[in-house]
């Protein structure tokens, strides 16, 4: 619990401190990073804490985004709309997950990939509602009860808050008994099953939580971007979020968020120089897989260990020195 408190305070400070050194463009970028961080944390949860590698997670993002775009035409209330998005994506995660988790690793991968691609095709083909390949603009506006939020700063703080709340929620789940059992299932499913835990329920719980959070990220994106298109559910996008998770590190909660930040920044930086971003992303993914050794969070821990170890060695050295001097005296 102490850890949750510490990390949350640090995150709040980060969100509050960032605008000090950012231009308008930087604020926009940071806002997008918060949204993508929620999305990649949601995938990081099932990948790193439940051992489920989904290749169709953008499907839920798309569901959330289109919910705000379509239902937002009739329901203006932001709270209600976000709730509807989360409930719809959560329900779809619950229903599809109940089928998907019955399958083993390879099948799970393929089915989630097919699921994401199916939604992509659906959004593409249900032209009367979704605008088809041309996409649709979002008419709903962000309003949390104190007037419409339109300024970049307003968006920044709303998305920053959403990011912190999402992190807290995930942290609470991970630290809860249910979260620990889920992690135990990832490490040894047979043992947890033998201990009397209903393995499927916990996996489904994690998957549903993850799906609804991805939906939330999608609906926030809809407000932020004011335009949605089928690409939000496509497999390229699913791949991108997976790259974010891998860059940051699987098996940690904040790793994927860090990965999202690095990815979005790199993408913006690179796209000013070259159109060949998919190629760079692919190469990045391959390099990370071959020599990445667990992603940035793990590198940071490694560096921390080295520094910490060095301190220890220094302390021992000085202690020895003191002892020697004592002996001499």
């Amino acid at each position: 619990m102490k850890k949750i408190f510490l990390y949350t305070v640090l995150l709040i400070l980060l969100v509050l401190a960032m605008p000090l050194g950012l231009s308008d463009f930087g604020m926009n970028l940071a806002t997008e990073i918060y949204i993508m961080a929620i999305f990649s944390m949601s995938l990081g949860l099932i990948m790193g804490y439940a051992g489920m590698v989904s290749l169709g997670h953008a499907g839920f993002f798309g569901i959330g985004a289109y919910t705000v775009a379509i239902i937002g035409q009739y329901v203006p209330n932001t709270y209600l709309l976000l709730l509807i998005s989360v409930v719809i994506s959560g329900l779809i995660a619950l229903i599809t997950g109940a089928v998907f988790i019955r399958t083993s690793k390879f099948y799970f991968l393929m089915i989630t990939l097919a699921f994401g691609q199916l939604l992509y095709v659906l959004f593409w083909q249900l032209k009367p509602w979704t605008g088809g390949a041309d996409g649709m603009s979002v008419s709903a506006t962000l309003n949390l009860g104190f007037g419409e939020i339109v300024s970049p700063n307003g968006f920044y703080y709303v998305m920053g808050a959403a990011f912190i709340i999402s992190y807290l929620l995930l942290r609470l789940f991970v630290e809860s008994p249910a979260g620990k059992i889920t992690k135990g299932i990832m490490e040894n499913e047979a043992r947890m099953s033998a201990l009397g835990h209903n393995v499927r329920i916990y996996k489904l719980l994690a998957y549903t939580l993850s799906g609804s959070l991805a939906g939330l990220a999608g609906s926030l994106y809809s407000y932020f971007n004011v335009f949605v298109s089928p690409d939000l559910s496509g497999w390229t996008f699913s791949g991108q979020v997976m790259v974010m998770v891998i860059i940051g590190g699987v098996g940690t909660l904040l790793g994927p968020a860090v990965g999202a930040g690095v990815f979005i920044y790199l993408q913006n930086f690179m796209s000013t120089y070259t159109e060949r971003w998919p190629m760079i992303m692919g190469a990045l993914l391959i390099i990370l897989v071959l020599i990445g050794k667990g992603g940035m969070i793990h590198w940071l821990r490694y560096v921390k260990d080295i520094i910490f170890l060095r301190k220890q060695i220094d302390e021992e050295a000085t202690q020895n020195q003191v002892k020697k001097e004592e002996v001499v005296n």
Partner: protein, 286 residues
């Protein structure tokens, strides 16, 4: 009635094409336990390579041969350079081949642009066969014929030859096969190259059938993954039957419910998996 048979043939041709694609996926999956997510992109690459050769006034059959050869060579390079580092690591395989698919797709976009292209069928097959009042395009019959031929060939290779015996043994007990003095690494390179060549082959044969466009790679990959999943991992028989099933259902679905044919295919997959999580002909997997 004649329209019905023409559509049935179209469905069968698509089904055989799906089988040819899924065959490469299945053999790599079955022997090496690698999910090759770059398979759809290799399919696309095969089609575009043949397109370039044919645009250079080369004969369709020579273009086909060159395309298959080139994708096989690419397969060897990829296996030697990258894939061999990730054997036994599932997540890494997925990510690596996923990354590869992005790169290859972008290279295709770079070289050939994003415009829709058509790969024309060879002149010899650009005719139709009439039986009574029914007209069958020859090229579709040809694809069905090649699909059946490939199925037979694969069955023969697997059950009647030494290579097939080694591969079957390697699937069950890799260490034992290695201990018998067989170079497992070489077998794996060969299998990956063969899978890539199959992707190239189906790309060239599929080009005239489905056209060439950006995004075809992921569509093809998803369809063939669905075929493999419905059929059961590593089962030829399963892939063959489910490919035909999907091809025919998709074709009729496109006629009856134009916008929802993909949904129907997906629903079939869900129903199959609810009843049999390991696919129609799959072995129980842990």
């Amino acid at each position: 009635m004649s329209i019905f048979y023409a559509q049935l043939l179209t469905g069968l041709a698509y089904g055989m094409l799906y089988f040819m694609i899924a065959a490469g996926l299945t053999i790599i999956l079955g022997v090496m336990n690698v999910v090759n997510l770059a398979h759809g992109t290799l399919f696309m690459l095969g089609a575009y390579i043949a397109f370039t050769f044919i645009s250079d006034e080369l004969n369709f059959w020579i273009a086909l041969l060159l395309s298959v050869l080139l994708t096989a060579v690419l397969g060897i390079i990829l296996e030697k350079l990258l894939i061999k580092h990730v054997y036994g690591k599932e997540l890494e395989q997925v990510l690596l081949t996923f990354g590869l698919s992005f790169i290859i797709a972008d290279v295709v976009k770079w070289i050939w642009g994003t415009e829709m292209q058509t790969l024309s069928a060879p002149a010899l097959l650009n005719a139709s066969l009439s039986i009574g009042d029914m007209v069958f395009p020859l090229y579709r019959l040809f694809v069905v014929f090649i699909g059946c031929l490939l199925a037979l060939l694969l069955w023969y290779l697997e059950s009647k030859t030494r290579i097939g015996a080694i591969i079957r043994a390697g699937v069950d007990d890799r260490a034992m096969v290695g201990a018998l003095g067989i170079n497992v690494g070489l077998v794996f390179t060969g299998v990956f190259a063969f899978g890539a060549a199959l992707a190239g082959l189906s790309g060239v044969l599929g080009g005239p059938l489905i056209g060439m466009y950006t995004g075809m790679d992921s569509e093809i990959l998803v369809t063939s993954l669905i075929v493999v999943v419905i059929g059961g991992l590593g089962s030829w028989k399963g892939s063959f039957i489910s490919a035909i099933l999907i091809g025919v259902i998709e074709t009729f679905g496109k006629v009856w419910f134009p916008s929802l044919s993909m949904l129907i295919v997906f629903l079939i997959m869900i129903v199959v998996l609810i009843i049999r999580p390991q696919g129609l002909f799959g072995r129980e997997v842990a």
